[in-house]
Amino acid sequence: MSQTGSLSPDAAPLRRTPLYDLHHARGARMVGFAGYEMPVQYPPGIIAEHLHTRAQAGLFDVSHMGQIRLHGAAAAGALEALVPGDLQALAPQRMRYTLLLNDSGGILDDLMVTRLEDGLMLVVNAARKEADLAHLQAHLDRAVTIEPRFERALLALQGPAAAAVLARFAAGVDRMPFMSATELSIAGASCVVTRSGYTGEDGFEISLAADHAVGVAERLLGEPEVAPIGLGARDTLRLEAGLCLYGHDIDETTTPIEAGLAWTIGKRRRAEGGFPGAATVLRQLADGPARKRVGIRPDGRAPAREGTPVVDAAGNPIGQVTSGGFGPSVGAPIAMGYVDAAHSAEGIALAVVVRDVERPAHVARLPFVPTHYYRG
């Protein structure tokens, strides 16, 4: 037997998050991911962890992600030169999902931008954080002070019980609007809490100093609804929720329009442009892109994994899978990928070529499961 799939260990020496010992103590299987030794699963396994998160609450260590603070009144306006989001309209304590673009409209990274009283807080992908920092340093107006805070920890508490659990430690967080932020204390630790996540469920991300991370994590894990969840379930949860994974579903060769992320481009930004690759992006917005990211449901039971060719009903190549596997809540294989625009409508029959065999599939609506973001 030999493994041919993903999530195999990296070769380079690996860094550890502040929760490394906690993961080990709880029996995690560790793998290399984006330069860090991270828990891929705990003893219950990916499917049980996934279902637990959808039913109750899961705690994820996402301290490998990069936190960057931008200080100065000019920060929002300056960052708009690098992203298509409307950041000047972002009110204090509100956050937005946006994209760092290159001059062709390709995506350098996807990130969360939160407006705090004294500037912006960015959360960027682990594998991209050094490159993003260099990009910001090279291109942002000098009036903006860039402060990498890669040493900080980041926890995600996700699931239908997340709000009730966190409210036991910080009264009122259960009434925080979706995509908002607040600074508060949890178990004596000063935290920036946002109501956001990467699972399709209600939940929070908690940014805090590294030396408080274990204490807060242990307190949260002490609540009966909360279980630790590994990167394996994080991936299946986000795939079911139709959320992109950088380096897989989006990268420098995909534009926001192809990726179905036109909703991240503010109305004012569409009118004014002024972001990298605006000519390409706005042209694709007007004329439609040649290819689109879509959900794909194989009709059979065989998963179609990243790199799987996609063909039309006559066998002609029309694209490929960028993320795929088994959806534990769906109970069937699910995938997303890029296909020619002509084959991108929901319900269109196509085929995925797994182990040289064409297997029937169809274009499916994203997300694959209903999302449960907090709507007040």
């Binding site: 037997m1 493994q3 799939g5 993903s6 195999s8 394996g232 596997g325 088994f326 294989p333 182990r355």
Partner: protein, 125 residues
């Protein structure tokens, strides 16, 4: 009790007369995690020792299952196709994959016995 033989790729073989029952080991299923899909060969197909005979996919990844012996596939376990979690629940028993009529029973002598396999597993990182 019939003796078991093992490969370095974590397949097991149990000889029953001129037929070999083949599966993946309990260690293999524990390393794979949740099995979500199994693809088995058509009965009647001739498989070669060391060549791909089946596919097993976990929540994480796809893996090939190599045939530990050469011969004709005489039966496949449709139960694990219908319910792949059986491979996790009972890898060495109800989670068997295929039965092969042995071309050369002597091939089994070249495989590890249980003691050797346990020692091999203990060396895995």
């Amino acid at each position: 009790m019939p003796s078991l033989r093992f490969t370095k790729d974590h397949e097991w073989v149990r000889q029953e007369g001129d037929v070999a029952v083949i599966g993946i080991t309990d260690y293999a299923q524990s390393q794979l995690g949740d099995v979500v899909y199994v693809e088995l060969p058509e009965p009647g197909r001739h498989v070669e020792q060391g060549k791909e005979a089946a596919v097993v996919e976990s929540a994480k990844a796809a893996s090939e299952v190599y045939s530990p012996v050469t011969g004709e596939v005489v039966a496949v376990n449709d139960d694990i196709v219908a319910d792949p979690a059986k491979v996790n629940a009972d890898a060495m028993g109800e989670g068997w994959f295929i039965k092969i009529r042995l071309d050369d029973p002597k091939q089994l002598d070249g495989l590890m016995d249980e003691t050797a396999y346990q020692a091999f597993v203990a060396e895995q990182p």
